[in-house]
């Protein structure tokens, strides 16, 4: 009986050790043959390649570690924008899918069936190589909203120029802290006295009012730098000032958003459908207003159904953002697992670091979402 339990485990362990041992041995031999030594010292050496789009200060003289950071930030940027937009779009489409209006319902389900059944890579290629390439050249681009230009080289928008940005930023954080404690206080008050404070309006007032105050007394100032076209030579133009959003970022965000939103929409629909009609009727019958029914009865229950699968979609979106490499958006995979690896030849370390990074992001998001999920789960007593 004991043997029956130990033997399979020993065999599994032996198998794993053998496979890893075999791989490590070969890797050592191969790297020795190429004159490489396993280690992460190369991260400190000069990268000497350029990256098209970077959120932080970077040029060829910086180290590989800095290049890694640039790639990671670009990945996180796409994932962050994508998650926000996909959630908004997905929520709207998911609700639209349940609309009593035939046209709305059919449009929503057409959108879902259309975009979820085409490979994401194809969609990225479509937006980047076909759709965005049809945009006008710099000199022909019409002005949008009196400030921006949508061109074949990307979107040029006004860039904010801050003075004393750090004061402004600190105030926002302070406002958030105040709101947090205020919400706690309001909840306590409600439990004690039974009176609901207008939390949302007061929070909004704090959130907008405090930062605004810094403009008046804190010396914070905001001005905009508008993109202005300038002719460089006979046929080449450029924009001075403003903020340039590269077409790769636009194509990638667009494709990721449209693709992931279909899945989120289905989750939202399932979540809302999962709430029994009786819940709504019961809530109405004890005298809650329609907005209270939605906020206090329907949403808390629907969220419980919606959040776990939606977390998965957030993870998928983050992982799918690695397809950026296909259209040369400098994300983690392209910068680090692509260019940096070609230059250093350190396949094991670099692919290892890249995978570890994605693993960390994935586990991080799922831990965060598990925590949130636990918080809103039914508290059984």
């Amino acid at each position: 009986m004991k043997l029956k339990k130990i033997l399979p485990q020993v065999l599994t362990l032996l198998f794993i050790v053998l496979v890893f041992g075999f791989f490590t041995m070969n890797a050592q031999e191969n790297m020795g043959a190429r004159g490489l030594e396993f280690g992460f010292g190369f991260l400190k050496t000069q990268a000497s390649f350029d990256i098209q789009f970077s959120l932080i200060d970077y040029d060829g003289s910086h180290s590989y570690a800095r290049a890694y950071l640039v790639g990671l930030l670009n990945t996180l940027l796409v994932a962050f924008i994508g998650i926000i937009l996909a959630t908004l779009l997905g929520a709207i489409v998911g609700v639209a899918r349940l609309s009593p209006n035939y046209l709305i319902r059919k449009t929503a389900s057409f959108y879902i069936e259309f975009f979820r059944n085409i490979p994401l890579l194809l969609q990225i290629f479509f937006w980047y190589f076909a759709a965005l390439r049809a945009l006008p050249m710099l000199e022909d681009a019409p002005m949008l909203l009196n400030s921006s230009f949508m061109t074949i080289k990307g979107l040029y928008t006004p860039a904010p120029i801050w003075t004393n940005f750090d004061i402004f930023f600190t105030t926002i954080i302070i406002a958030m802290i105040i709101i947090f404690f205020f919400a706690k206080y309001a909840k306590k008050k409600q439990e004690q006295v039974g009176k609901r404070l207008p939390v949302l309006i007061i929070s909004l007032a704090i959130f907008i009012g405090l930062p605004l105050l810094t403009f008046l007394i804190g010396g914070v100032d905001l001005s905009w730098s508008f993109p202005v076209i300038r002719q460089m030579s006979q046929s080449s133009y450029t924009f001075d000032g403003g903020l340039k959003i590269p077409p790769e970022l636009i194509a990638l965000t667009l494709a990721l958003t449209l693709y992931t939103a279909t899945f989120i929409a289905e989750n939202v629909r399932a979540g809302i459908q999962g709430i029994g009609k009786g819940q709504k009727e019961a809530a109405a019958s004890i005298g809650l207003t329609p907005s209270q029914v939605l906020k206090l009865v329907i949403m808390p229950q629907a969220l419980r159904i919606i959040i776990p699968p939606t977390t998965n979609q957030y993870l998928n979106l983050t992982k799918n953002s690695s397809l950026a490499a296909a259209i040369a958006y400098p994300d983690l995979v392209l910068v680090f697992a692509g260019t940096a690896m070609m230059q250093t030849g350190r396949a094991i370390e670099i692919v290892g670091i890249t995978m570890a990074t994605y693993l960390t992001i994935s586990l991080g998001i799922s831990l965060l979402m598990n925590w949130y999920n636990k918080r809103i789960a039914i508290q059984e007593k």
Partner: protein, 426 residues
Amino acid sequence: MSRNNFNLLKSKHQTNQNISLILGVLFFSVGIIDFYLNNYFNTNITSFLPRIINFFTPLIFGVIGLHLIRIEFSGIKILDNLNKNINTSNFNAVLSTSIILLIIFAAPPLLNWLIFDANIAGDSKEACTGGGACWVYIKIWFNRFMYGMYPNAEQWRINVTFIAVLVFMAAGFFVPTRLRNYLSLYYTLLLPIISFILIYYIISGGSFGLVWVETGAWGGLSLTFMVSFFSLIFCFPLGMMLALGRRSNLPIIKYSSLSFIEFWRGVPLITVLFMSAVMFPMFLPEGTYIDKLIRVVVAITLFEAAYTAEVIRGGLQALPRGQYDAAKSLGMGYWRMHVFVILPQALKLVIPGIANTFLALIKDTPLIFVVGLLELVGMLNLAKTNPKWLGFSMEGYVFAGIIFWIICYSMSKYSQNLELKYKTDR
């Protein structure tokens, strides 16, 4: 009804109802005609209005029209249906009108580009004169999109192999009842071996007088099918073992399965393919070479097996405890219990989930371009850089999109049907 408070034109009298009906239809048609003229004839019949209102006139007229024809129980069946479905409130009227206008705005140019202005006759770029799509491009490159760089004269070999594999797959449905028990064995063990032998000897060639075609030349849609077929077939048993391992009581087996699953689920497929392309050769003894295609299939298999394992685990967890207890009380051991009692029931539950995994797998196959294998999407990117055929990327992507859409949509509908079927069974 509170609606009547601000509704001046509408009342419950029969005569007024007819008047408002006529007025409503009139308003709605004016809105549509205005929009149509604006878009396709560059004339604006409402240009006397200020510019801001002028821009919204089609919408405003449409909504007023819908508002007027919103009559409860008019007795006209079509009208009542219309009201019930797209015209229940002013908000819905705005949305409905917007969507109708959007369709009028988008559909004709789209159809023109796709069909009416498109060119399909001819065999060179010069044949494409219209403003629409150039399907000649697809026609000329069709073989490449289907078979990659596989030599034209040898393409019958791919067709023959595919038909043969399909026949072997279909053969399972016609076996006599007494052999039915061995069916799963046939599908999980025998079929992969047969298919592999067929592909190795017929598509790859090199013996029986067939020319050797290296895997680098394979490509197009047929490669998509091959990669997804083998990955699916191999990832299924592996996923099953992992799912059982994850639910095992033995700590080492449980945690090694768990970490295997979590590892593959945590990394993107593109890095896994990078790993198979550049990192994996470093792990092999000097001089060993494994074909690129095989490496890719192994990588995708391991990746998808982790997802399959989670799907199967869902099925295992959904089974009531009584099934386990009953099997144990009959004196069955671990393997007998799982093979004869648990797995047959659990797998039936997870067929839709497996179909979804397969769907994701098909949608993931274009990624193999990172290791230099060109399936359909990869071939498109190659074709569009051909100097003779520049500027047709749109046609190519639309074509590939349609093909993938048909495959994936039919599969997802099929899996939804299965889901419904098995739901009612239990």
